[in-house]
Amino acid sequence: MTASWPIVALILAPLLAAAAAFALPRHGRQAALLANLVAAAALALLARQIVTGGLQTHDIGGWAAPLGIGLRADGFALLMLVVTMIIAAAVSLYALRYFLFSHDPEAAHRERYFWPLFLFLWSALHALFLSADIFNLYVTLELLGFAAVALVALAGGREALAAAMRYLWVSLAASLFYLMGVALVYGQCATVDLPLLATRASPVPTLWVALALMTVGLLAKAALFPMHFWLPPAHASAPAPVSALLSALVVKGPFYILLRLWFEAFPVVMTPVIAQALGALGAAAILWGSVSALLQPRLKLLVASSTVAQLGYLFLLFPMVTARPDSFLAWSGGLLFLGAHACAKTAMFLAAGNILHAAGHDRIKDLDGVTHALPISAFAFGLVGLSLAGLPPSGGFAGKWLLLSTALAQGQWWWVLVILVGGLLAAAYVMRVLTHAFARVPEPTPCEAIPPIMEWTALAMAILPGGLGLLAHAPTEWLRLGAPILLKGSGL
């Protein structure tokens, strides 16, 4: 029976704040700020505990697995939690003013529901990253999906609702696939606890089927090509802070679960063919998403297509971690990339939100004057472009470098090409938007003023992936901490 108050606080603080925000709608913002503070403190404490003491666990109610629910925080979970914390803080700051300045008469109404839903989503994310068994992961995954769908529907128009409905069908069906997989796993191994599964798994047909089901479900939720179709409309029609949350965090949850499944619980079932197949889907996502971003007429759709593309990079992790040597390099590269992308995508959506607010539209070819009026947001967009294109010294570069080095060392040439081409395409679609910031404007377009906090949050989020490149050393070391994933069993 182990207890860890920081772990409990991380889940409870946003959850209680969500309830408070729902019950007391006029105090939504305060609830969110309070949740931010408590969660940040808990995370700092947890981080210190992990760094000094290794893996941290907590059994809910004091009941141990298999009947109880265990929670667990290792280096990998810590990294995800830190990324979540940063994004959630930025989104909170941004949303403080966002709804006030919306053009829409329903803004106050929307804000009322935004805070509880956002906090609920945040709590679900924390619970997901801290789960230690695959069934609990199902529950948190579903919760995450509910909150996300509701947030997409928040914008209210026909487009948003249609996108939300599509997202809902995909989400629910995918979760059921996952759950069926859990059932089969339980039938085979008589446990759902992740570390225990590693000891009991063997490459039998039941587990093949189970993993296939779970993977398909998770891939759909993570919007990997070819099941990515729901993402651009959903992320584009949501309000800007929601889009940021969705692209930066919500799609990363299923990816996290995939990594846990394949590398912690069932490394014995993984074969090179599966790994290469996942990598190939990732490559297809990169190319499809980038080309799609080049062709989109609207800014938010461009950013959402970019998400589809960047998620593809994450899936390159699979073939590179599976092939040895240098698996840890690929692992840390992919995860650094994930962190950098989360910050970058947040910045991109927040900046796009500013532009949309100021101009009243987001048609890319008409954006000339607006970007002149919003130099900070334009600059943020530019910085983000650096990270997406993988230019040094950004975090995107650090991740890309690690992936490239690994691919070269392992002789997997084809990924090298994909990574390089992807970077150039990313530069191309970012420049599509940025050229308007530099084009001469005969006279300034009348634009609405944007509150500074909204612009500065976007910029701060853009600087982070830039700085991450130079400070990538520390997070990479965290990934080694208490991580059962790589250091035992799989010989990596």
């Binding site: 298999p66 009947l67 199902y138 487009e159 409905m165 059932a183 339980y186 609207r298």
Partner: protein, 117 residues
């Protein structure tokens, strides 16, 4: 329960799952899709329960039972959300004039236009 029984409940669960998924894919109406998802869910729960029965000894394994209970609760919430969203979407569709498809979105599912109350 003797273990030599053919795994009928397992197969039934799997069949429900497949039928539900198939319906989800081809049925256009949201209410039917919600029903399809519920059937899929029931399929999964049935599989869990059938697996619970396969333990040695007379007492069934309680863990899958617990999981099914949790699953049912989640499923009810999901259904509630889906129904609310469908309702709201229907309201919004009724507010607008009969469709010219909005060109900007272009990705609205064609069946949304055929939604009836």
């Amino acid at each position: 329960m003797p273990h030599a029984d053919p795994p009928i409940y397992l197969l039934a669960g799997a069949a429900l799952f497949v039928i539900g998924f198939y319906s989800l894919l081809i049925q256009p109406h949201p209410l039917r899709r919600i029903m399809a998802l519920n059937i899929m869910g029931s399929g999964v729960f049935l599989v869990f329960i059938a697996l619970a029965n396969r333990t040695p000894g007379p007492v069934a394994d309680p863990v899958p039972h617990a999981m099914v209970l949790t699953g049912i609760v989640v499923s009810v919430c999901a259904t509630g959300l889906a129904l609310a969203l469908t309702n709201r979407f229907g309201e919004v569709l009724d507010e607008k004039a009969p469709p010219a498809e909005s060109p900007a979105s272009g990705k609205t599912p064609p069946e949304a236009a055929e939604n009836h109350r």
